[in-house]
């Protein structure tokens, strides 16, 4: 079977590209669409740094053969900020020192986005469970957990003031 034209809705835009058989969603995002926020850390679903949202749910993009999600809505870290404005998760990650080398950050933020979309007031245990598939070797996780809880608080606050 030759390479195929695959169409995805990526961060709200319809994108088409040619994919070789067996190409992963991760490879297509990075190499065909130039969206390099999602990283390759292990290529086996163990590190979580390639996590993107597929139809609203976090998935390890390295485990997704792109043909199997043709037509799906994909959300990546590039689609999180609006213009130059960071969202609550991004700004909380900066303020709470939740990034060090930055390599796990794209996956951590996408998992946090999915969590807060589903549950605006997660407990500490909920946050820890949500990021349990994401490896960070620098921070020891605690600043990341704090940042996600802080982001939830800011988002709730903003919802009230609106």
């Amino acid at each position: 079977m030759p390479s195929q034209i695959v169409s995805l809705d990526v961060n709200g835009e319809r994108r088409e590209f040619i994919a070789a058989p067996g190409a992963t969603l991760l490879a297509c995002l990075r190499e065909s669409l130039g969206l390099t926020a999602a990283k390759r850390g292990c290529a086996q679903g163990a590190c979580g740094t390639c996590t993107v949202l597929v139809d609203g749910r976090p998935e390890a993009a390295c485990l997704v053969a792109v043909e199997t999600v043709a037509g799906s809505a994909i959300r990546t870290l590039e689609g999180v900020a609006t213009g130059g404005d960071l969202d609550e998760v991004q700004s909380a990650f900066i303020d709470c020192f939740a990034t060090q080398c930055g390599f796990c950050t794209p996956g951590m933020i996408m998992v946090a986005e999915a969590l807060l979309d589903r549950d605006p007031d997660p407990s500490e245990a909920d946050v820890i469970e949500a990021i349990s598939g994401n490896v960070c070797r620098c921070t020891g996780y605690r600043p990341i957990v704090i940042a996600i809880l802080e982001a939830a608080r800011r988002r709730r606050e903003r919802a009230v003031t609106r």
Partner: protein, 265 residues
């Protein structure tokens, strides 16, 4: 090998056709895609179940029927399958549970496959489709002898356990997202125990020696420890990065006890 085609069939019949031609079945890709990514897949064609309409979950009249392509997340979120939720939360991470499927869980090597351990304790039935038509098989048979070339598990079916009769416990290296050192799943009914073990053999196994010993006896720390020791006859433990075979066998009685008496030390 280099992958030449990824089929995404949209019906069970089309899955069987692709599978019969030698394509490797792939549920969520959590097991197959790492092989593809490292160039070590032994096939050139993949058959994805993602669009085959095999992901339905139905619970009615005390019977659950779960499509093989249903994700672990979907099972965990189904209101009729709440008893399985704690078990599902011990499997991988929420992200991977959005991808990993019920059918795939039957074919992963131990110490993975904790849902398969549950299904073994539940005495689930597998609905299979293949070039020769449809058939049913006990999950125990599928776990031990596999399925025929070209066949696919379409769904698993089991009777819901009565309230209070389901027990599950998994010992891991970490609280979340870690493979099994020992997994215990059990359904009890009228002094009869069905006990399945994970992490203790290449495939999930029934602890028949423990079941025999416990039959008609009250569950006490003493009887459970005795049963756990007896269950060493039913296992074939292995060394891996999580634990040694020696350790797994050593702690089996402790975790069997904790499955039934979580409060005991």
């Amino acid at each position: 090998m280099v992958i030449q085609a990824v089929h995404v069939p949209e019906s069970v019949d089309a899955v069987v056709t692709c599978s019969a031609r030698g394509g490797l079945l792939m549920g969520g890709g959590t097991v197959v895609m790492p092989l593809v990514n490292s160039g070590s897949a032994a096939v050139t064609e993949l058959v994805s179940l993602r669009r085959a309409g095999m992901d339905g979950i139905e619970v009615s009249d005390g019977v659950a029927t779960i499509g093989a392509a249903a994700t672990l997340a979907a099972v965990g979120e189904h209101p009729g399958l709440a008893f399985l939720r704690p078990a599902l939360r011990t499997i991988a991470s929420p992200t991977i549970r959005n991808q990993a499927t019920v059918g795939g869980n039957l074919f992963v090597p131990q110490p993975y496959g904790d849902l398969a351990v549950c299904l073994l304790a539940l005495e689930a039935t597998c609905e299979l489709a293949g070039p020769a038509g449809r058939r049913e098989a006990p999950v125990a048979d599928v776990l031990t002898t596999g399925i025929a070339p070209g066949e696919v598990v379409v769904a698993v079916r089991f009777a819901l356990p009565e309230p209070g009769t389901w027990h599950y416990h998994k010992a891991m290296r970490r609280r979340l997202n870690s493979a099994a050192i020992v997994t215990v799943a059990s359904v009890t009914s009228a002094g009869d125990y069905r006990i399945a073990l994970g992490g203790l053999a290449p495939r999930p196994v029934r602890a028949v020696s423990a079941e025999r010993l416990l039959r008609g006896r009250p569950l006490t720390p003493e009887s459970l420890t005795e049963a756990g020791e007896a269950a060493r006859a039913d296992i074939d433990p292995f060394d891996d990065a999580y634990a040694s075979a020696w350790y797994r066998a050593r702690v089996l009685p402790v975790h069997l006890r904790r499955a039934f008496l979580p409060e005991s030390p």
